[in-house]
Amino acid sequence: MIRRLVCLFLLGGFSCTAVLAQDTKKEIQRYQQMIAEGSPVELFELEGETLWKKPQGPSNLSLERCDLGLGPGMLKGAYARLPRYFKDADQVMDLESRLLHCMVTLQGRKREEATRRVFGNDDRPSEMELLSAYIAGRSRGAKISPGLSHPREKQAYELGRALFFHRAGAWDFSCASCHGEEGKRIRMQDLPVLYKPQHARPVVATWPAYRVSNSTFKTMQWRLNDCYRQMRMPEPAFASETTVALTLFLTATGRGEPYRGPGTKR
């Protein structure tokens, strides 16, 4: 009898928390919608455009002749087709590794110099961040469709998938530790199950993004870097095969979604 009463009490309490959780979820979604509406993200696209057209490096050339996969200087829809295999570099590249390639080959810059400051801060966004904002913005409305036909692309996709489920580091995490089960959240943040298309689609459609917790613009390379930091892992090299493969795996999982970024995140 007492047990039943306790149960009833508990059940009552439980459904009560469930209702609260529902409200909380709705309010958090409202917050996210409102910050997106009042986002300064376009300022970063503007700055990126200036940088794209600015002559730099020993060759004193701008990046305007950079081939992002659709031909030199073709920006419209180019981001939505990345990562992809590039014959001239014999590599699968994401936006940032391709930009780096152009800085080296077109502008004559040293790789070391061009990667010295790939992640900026709220005072000074990095070159990569500003350029990513501009270039990604030129793919608004384009369907996301990364390269998946070349053997190297298939290989990168498989590597990305394996990396996603690979448990390592001081806390035994894989990407799936946080992004592997439906209906979970970390603190207030809903966690997308990134190996499932319906979850990956809205994510890949909105990165890179202005992140209000950093008050600045952040790229996918940064997102993965900071995930590994919080997984208590050592640091992945910028534009490494690891980060590009993971990006391809995630982008391929979310393919078909029209790109609507650069987004705005918590």
């Binding site: 390592a168 001081a170 089960e181 207030m188 640091e235």
Partner: protein
């Protein structure tokens, strides 16, 4: 202990299809930064077996792994229930062991990232079960104290492929800090049990 791991590893037959050599890729693409040294990319047997079995090892393998992990826990003598107020601070914090954390600085438990605890905190995760009312529901006798201490020290001793970090074993939390978390969960005065 490591020999036992090696032995367990041998029980596993490598998969027939050509899997990407993730270990090799990680060794090449990652570099040490701060206290996050390269030994961390080397999977121990537990991590490897969980990865290879998609976190569902056969029951006998799981049992053997758990028994091995249990050996890593040295239970302090006496009362294990520390100060719940300090415990709440440890549960709230999210620092420790990353390359941006100061080496040697005390780590936190990151508990709220995954669990509901004190009812006043709205911002809690749901990756782990809700721990609200934990002590009130289960009591706080020596056995329960021991279970909670052990679970925080090394969660894998109770569930081989649990997603919960081995907070004591990994060196994230000290014995004192874990006791304070035991207090947070079990002390009748703790907000968790209100």
């Amino acid at each position: 202990m490591s020999r036992a791991f090696l032995f367990l590893g041998l029980l596993f037959i490598p998969p027939a299809f050509a899997e990407p050599d993730v270990q090799k890729v990680l060794q090449r693409d990652f570099h040490a930064r701060g206290q996050a040294t390269m030994d961390r990319v080397v999977q121990d047997s537990l991590q490897r077996l969980c990865t290879e079995s998609a976190d569902k090892p056969p029951p006998d393998v799981a049992k053997a792994l758990e028994a091995d992990q249990m050996k890593t826990i040295s239970f302090p003598a006496g009362d294990l229930m520390g100060d719940w107020q300090r415990g709440e601070k440890i549960a709230q914090g999210g620092r420790g062991l990353t390359w941006s954390d100061r080496p040697g600085a005390p780590g936190d438990g990151s508990c709220y990232n995954c669990h509901q605890l004190a009812p006043a905190e709205l911002s809690y995760g749901t990756i782990g079960p809700s721990l609200r009312g934990f002590g009130k529901l289960r009591g706080n006798g020596p056995e329960m104290q021991r279970y909670v201490y052990g679970k925080i020290y090394n969660a894998k001793a109770y569930n081989a492929c649990s997603q919960m970090p081995r907070l004591g074993y990994s060196g994230t939390l000290t014995e004192e800090q874990i006791k304070d978390l035991v207090g947070l969960l079990l002390d009748p005065a703790s907000p968790v049990n209100q």
